[in-house]
């Protein structure tokens, strides 16, 4: 933190203490609220209602197959899900995929961002081609990975394991899923990090290099601290995204051989099992986990929404 304090770029500061507002300001603020009200109301209607409804569903035995047996059962569904092996296996798989893919994406994304930032010749071409994976629809990309890894027809399967079927074994299937995730979303990470790189003032780097800082020192002592808000935002976005992984798994392994993520098994219980009670319980639990992740990032690491002026809030 101390390093960061030293190199912090002077940012706009909002006064910490509340100042009494003038009449005009008050009016202006009121108008502001009125202007955002319609948008806010629509947002609450489309997000809050389903959330509350799923909480309500999660407290019932509600199985579309047995409509007569619908009843309120309190927290029983939570006990069922939280004491179930499939749930915790899926939770573990999801956590594993999240941690590995986000870590690798951060490293690769940083490299890619540096390349895109530094490129002088064919800048547009480099940036565009780096973004191609992100531009391809996940399901489409996942299908091409699936065919590539199918023995007989796939070039990767024939190349890497001519005798096996990598998508049918747990470890290799997970590796392929993580690989597909990384391939797909590294550009997104790089894009966010590149925005952070643009924040690093050239003067600061020049000054550091005048002081004899090596490239590595400039990177770790100057660039990273300045970029920290951008890195945290990128990490937060990607972690939340990675935790909800669904499409890659759905296409690549369909959750076979214990490769299901939490979203995958929530879908299975809701859509295939028609068990609205258990399925909603899982959705609520996923929602809570995502909220906790966001809370940790915001409160403990001090991530701030991009564009907010008090980026250093603790």
């Amino acid at each position: 933190m101390s390093v960061q304090e030293k190199v912090r770029i002077p940012a706009q500061r909002t006064p910490k203490k509340k100042v009494a507002l003038s009449e005009g300001k008050k009016q202006e603020r009121k108008l502001g609220w009125l202007l955002c009200a319609p948008a806010a109301i629509v947002m609450v209607a489309v997000t809050a209602y389903p959330i509350i409804y799923s909480v309500w569903l999660s407290l019932q035995r509600y199985d579309l197959k047995f409509p007569e047996d619908r009843e309120f059962i309190g927290l029983t569904n939570y006990v069922t899900v939280l004491s179930n092996n499939y749930w915790w296996t899926a939770f573990g798989v999801t956590a594993l995929i999240t941690v590995i893919s986000v870590t690798v994406e951060l490293i690769l994304g940083m490299g890619l961002a540096l390349i895109m930032h530094k490129t002088l010749v064919g800048r547009g071409l480099v940036r565009t081609s780096a973004l191609i994976p992100y531009g391809i629809v996940t399901v489409v990309a996942a299908f091409s990975w699936r065919y590539a890894w199918t023995p007989g027809t796939g070039y990767l399967a024939n190349l890497v394991s001519p005798d096996g079927a990598p998508l049918t074994e747990r470890a290799s299937a997970l590796a392929i899923i993580i690989f597909a995730e990384i391939w797909k979303t590294t550009p997104f990470m790089a894009l966010l990090l590149m925005a952070g790189l643009a924040l690093v003032p050239d003067d600061l780097l020049k000054a550091a290099s005048m002081d004899g800082a090596s490239w590595w020192q400039r990177f770790t002592k100057v660039m990273l601290p300045v970029m920290k808000p951008a890195i945290l935002v990128a990490l937060l976005f990607r972690t939340l995204d990675a935790f909800r992984i669904f499409d890659n798994i759905y296409v690549l392994s369909a959750g076979a051989n214990e490769t299901s993520s939490v979203s995958m098994i929530a879908y299975n219980n809701l859509m295939k099992g028609l068990n609205l009670g258990i399925g909603s319980t899982m959705s609520v639990l996923i929602f809570l986990t995502v909220a906790i992740i966001a809370f940790i990032f915001v409160k403990l690491f001090g991530t701030a929404a991009p564009g907010s002026d008090d980026g250093e809030r603790r």
Binding site: K65, P67, A165, I265, N269, K272, L274, N275, I278
Partner: protein, 417 residues
């Protein structure tokens, strides 16, 4: 006077209006019945003929569902749960009967359609369309898996699993195509496989009322056979990820010596690989014990009328034509769908299209239903998960944990993987 602008405008108007015409009724006020079914070759021809026969009483519009049964069901139940009234006739898999009927999504079949269905159709197929002794759907085809084998490699087909594994290992040591190919992916196909083994071993997964998980000695025996098969080194490397079409293609390309699959493979093989078809024979599904004939899981599809349909009477009428003997014969000959009406098998054109019909009818008459409970889909998912990959099955232990998770599935307490 026609200007390019007017042509474009007219075309745009057409494009905009076309989708509107597709729903509800068309210009002359003829009610349109939507018929949701899996993609079946030449089904449109049947629909067209039925429309002609209806002579303006109604018009059936055939809408194709996704290719796999899981996806078909998910799409249907999603819409039925939302009380979608734009589905009239539902082309269903036989295993959905209990669930759809229990959820009040399909109408009971009564009156003359009922007596027609019960009078013509193979008993095992009628049975699979019932829930609590009421008829809810009209079976339009039926299905059992047969053993397909390479006559050039194996002179006489094996009678039991042990025999087949032995033959395969022998072929393997001779360096010839040896694989036994069947469906082992974590999905319904694996459950069908398991259910055939259970029925052949005389076991029970659930009790007759469908309310209690049983998993007796017969099921343990079935699990032993499954494990033995999966670990004998006679399967395709992608066995634990293979679905029907993978198996069909791999066998058709000459990769194996035995294939356990539905009869549709014959139609596509005769068309795509006639040389291979000439070398392929068929036989009854292998038994577990040489003295007890095998019992094979009955499959097939049926047609039901949605509870939310606005034209139920017309829809029942349309079903009479869609699944009538003429339609069944046409699809049997042209699309490899085994008829559910027994008399259709006597038609001379069946001899060429269905040379295996005697074995097929034999198997059909002794076929085994899948566990009958509205929670079948959950049961099936749990079973598929526990048995995947088949090589990791531990018979007694797997049976015990299955009993527990099947009971939970029946009580809506089960968590699906």
């Amino acid at each position: 006077m026609t200007t390019p602008g007017r042509v474009v405008a007219a075309a745009a108007a057409l494009i905009l209006a076309a989708p509107l015409a597709a729903c509800g009724s068309d210009d002359e006020g003829v009610p349109v019945l939507t018929f949701y079914n899996s993609p079946v070759q030449n089904l449109q021809t049947v629909v067209d003929r039925c429309n002609q026969q209806a002579a303006g009483k109604y018009k059936i519009s055939y809408q194709t569902l996704p290719r796999t049964a899981d996806d078909q069901r998910v799409q249907m139940v999603r819409r039925l749960a939302a009380k979608d009234d734009s589905m009239d006739i539902l082309g269903m898999d036989v295993t959905w009967t209990q669930e759809f009927a229990s959820a009040n999504w399909i109408r009971e079949i009564t009156g003359d359609l009922k007596s027609e269905v019960e009078g013509q159709t193979l008993a095992a197929a009628v049975d699979s369309a019932k829930y609590e002794d009421k008829l809810y759907a009209a079976p339009n085809n039926t299905n059992v898996q047969l053993l397909w084998y390479r006559k050039d490699l194996v002179p006489t087909p094996p009678k039991t699993w042990d025999e087949m594994i032995q033959m395969s290992q022998q072929l393997k040591s001779q360096g010839k195509p040896y694989q036994v190919m069947t469906m082992g992916a974590q999905y319904e196909g694996l459950v069908v496989f398991f259910n055939s083994l259970v029925a052949s071993a005389g076991g029970h997964v659930v009790d007759d009322a469908g309310e209690k998980a049983v998993m007796d000695d017969g099921t343990v025996k079935a699990l032993e056979v499954l494990k033995n098969f999966a670990t004998a080194g006679v399967t395709d490397p992608s066995f634990s990820n293979a679905v029907e079409d993978d198996v069909r293609r791999a066998f058709q390309d000459g990769g194996g010596a035995f294939e356990l699959n539905w009869p549709y493979v014959w139609a596509s093989m005769s068309e795509d690989a006639p040389d291979m078809a000439a070398k392929v024979g068929w036989a009854r599904y292998p038994a577990i014990d040489a003295s007890t004939p095998s019992r094979t899981t009955i499959g097939g599809s049926e047609q039901a009328v949605s509870s939310y349909s606005k034209h139920p009477d017309l829809a029942f009428d349309a079903i009479k034509c869609l699944r009538g003997p003429e339609s069944q014969l046409y699809l049997a000959v042209n699309s490899g769908q085994a008829p559910s009406i027994e008399s259709v098998y006597n038609d001379p054109s069946m001899d060429k299209a269905y040379p295996m019909k005697d074995v097929l009818l034999d198997e059909l008459k002794t076929s085994a239903p899948r566990p009958r409970t509205p929670a079948y889909q959950n049961l099936s998912t749990v079973v598929a998960a526990e048995l995947s990959p088949p090589a990791s099955v531990e018979p007694q232990k797997t049976a015990d944990s299955l009993r527990e998770s099947i009971q939970a599935a029946i009580d809506s307490k089960g968590v699906l993987p």
